[in-house]
């Protein structure tokens, strides 16, 4: 088994293997340094073709229609619409 360490020489470690010391090191993600990720703020909105834009607009209309339909049906079942 292994032992807990408080500090690790990261420069020597490749794919979890410390070649200098001849052992492997397991680091929990929350104990590791924050990793460099994709900068989504810098990318801005996704470029979309006109067909994708219209498809998403249709999808939005479909969702709104279905939510209204469900709300109407639910209100009807609860007796709030008077029938």
């Amino acid at each position: 088994m292994g032992t807990m360490t408080t500090s690790i020489n990261e420069a020597n470690i490749k794919h979890g293997y410390d070649a200098g010391a001849g052992h492997y090191v397991v680091v929990h993600p929350l104990d590791d340094r924050p990793e460099e990720k994709v900068d989504i703020e810098g990318l801005g909105p996704m470029p979309m073709t006109r067909s994708v834009r219209y498809s998403l607009f249709s999808l939005r209309a479909y969702l709104v229609l279905m939510i209204l339909l469900v709300a109407y049906h639910a209100l009807g079942l609860s007796g709030l619409l008077g029938h």
């Binding site: 090191v25 680091v27 993600p29 340094r33 924050p34 990793e35 994709v38 990318l43 339909l69 609860s78």
Partner: protein, 448 residues
């Protein structure tokens, strides 16, 4: 990766670039692999097992009680489907370090972001009400006053989340997930017949009464229960909060696959428990009553275990669905939103969580609350939302500018578009039938 990259800490947390890295030293390569997997393990298992919530217990046991083992093959078929959908979230979460709501907001704009958030919060809240309704029902059958039991469970759900430690929260929830394995013991006690089960699992068969409207809707309910919109938001936020790294992708995929395997086999067990009630000539009304009825044949231990598992399923569902709401809201509002933060530093995030749990628990305790109406609305709204949620996921996963080498491959797209088309067809039928029952005169049956 060919795009811009930036150091990303857990949401709302300060960068700790000077903090020493703590780790565990091991001698062998296989021990390194095992311990790395265990360190990464969690989000995939939790999202999958929590998907077997109170609604799932009801749907799967009802399927078994009405159609025996006829629908086992469908559950097996859903294993790759649920894995492929959630695997996309794994790549997206690890590559960006952001939650799903934040991604939609930033890549599709404010209006789509708000729209998706409102949809998610609405369906999540209605689902939470059904979770607490199940807790209420099971507690009553156990002889516990829900007016005491429901607030206590809600308090427990709040306390386990506000500890300021992601790891502590994860350990508690993984323990609750492990309790779900008791479904295997119950199924084994009921002697379902291994040969018949294996045959039904691999060979699609038609139910004894043929294909009826009830059967079609139960099929739709099973699909809708196994893949839900909140899962996409939950797992991506969970991965971002746990700060999984690019090197963790293979382990996170394995975590998701193990979770999918467990949830599908547990779902099969629930169906077999329902089948046992059918074999004893019992009429199915709900899973709590089924537990009581089976108890007359197999004793109070089995009855109480099923009722407790029903509560556990609802608790797991509540813990994860409330968190998916809180994470999504925190991401969009730009609030600190991490389980690693104490309540003083992420007040808004924990307030949303508390509000979701508290309101849902309070609603089921109101005498005469329209619970059946809420359950009906949950089914339809979840069915309507699911395909559109997956379309956003699919578009994001094809965004090479965003994901580079982690973007979808052509075979990913072929599989995913097939899943989307099938889900869209099913959701249209379900939504149209429930919202306007007179639309298809030939399909007037309901299942739940």
């Amino acid at each position: 990766m060919t795009n811009n990259i930036t150091p990303t800490p857990a949401a709302g947390m300060a960068l700790e670039t000077d903090a020493p890295v703590r780790g565990m030293v091991v001698k062998s390569r296989w021990m390194h692999s095992l311990l790395t997997f265990l360190a990464v393990f969690g989000p995939g298992l939790i999202v999958m097992v929590a998907d077997n919530d109170a609604g799932a217990v009801s749907t799967y046991t009802q399927a078994g009680a009405q159609y025996g083992t006829s629908l086992l093959w469908l559950v097996v078929l859903l294993l790759p489907v649920t894995y492929f959908v959630q695997e996309m979230v794994v790549r997206l979460g690890i590559a960006t370090g952001k939650g799903h709501a934040a991604m939609i907001f930033q890549r599709f704009g404010k209006w789509w972001g708000i729209f998706s958030l409102v949809d998610l919060e609405l369906v999540n809240f209605l689902t939470l009400v059904t979770e607490f309704a199940a807790i209420d029902l099971a507690l009553t059958k156990l002889g516990v006053d829900p007016r005491i039991g429901v607030p206590l469970i809600a308090l427990g759900l709040f306390l386990m989340t506000v500890t300021g430690s992601y790891r502590r929260w994860e350990r508690i929830v993984v323990f609750l997930c492990a309790l779900d394995l008791a479904w295997f013991v119950i199924t084994w006690k009921l002697h379902p017949g291994a040969g018949e089960v294996l045959r039904a699992a691999v060979r699609p068969t038609m139910p004894p009464g043929g294909i009826t409207s009830d059967f079609i809707f139960l099929v739709i309910a099973i699909v809708g229960t196994t893949i839900a919109p909140w899962q996409l938001f939950f797992q991506q936020s969970c991965i971002a909060d746990k700060r999984l790294r690019f090197s963790d992708v293979p382990w996170a995929r394995l975590d998701t696959f193990v979770g999918a395997l467990i949830t599908i086999t547990v779902a099969g067990c629930m169906m077999l428990v329902g089948n046992a009630s059918r074999m004893h000539g019992l009429h199915f009304t709900d899973p709590a009553q089924m537990a009581v009825d089976l108890g007359t044949f197999f004793g109070p231990l089995l009855r109480n275990t099923i009722l407790l598992l029903m509560i556990n399923a609802a608790v797991l569902g509540t813990a994860t669905i409330s968190l998916s709401s809180a994470w999504a809201y925190g991401e969009v509002k730009g609030w600190p939103h991490s389980l690693q933060l104490p309540i003083q530093k992420a007040g808004g995030f924990y307030a949303v969580y508390l509000l979701c749990v508290g309101l849902a628990a309070g609603l089921v305790l109101i005498p005469g609350a329209p619970l059946q109406l809420i359950i009906l609305s949950v089914q339809v709204l979840a069915g309507v939302m699911l395909p559109s949620a997956i379309i956003f996921l699919q578009l994001l996963l094809n965004d090479k500018e965003l994901l580079g080498e982690y973007a979808n491959k052509p075979w990913n797209n072929a599989v995913n578009w097939t899943i989307i088309i099938v889900l869209f067809g099913l959701s249209l039928v379900l939504a149209a039938q429930v919202a306007a029952p007179g639309l298809f005169p030939g399909l007037n049956g309901g299942t739940n």
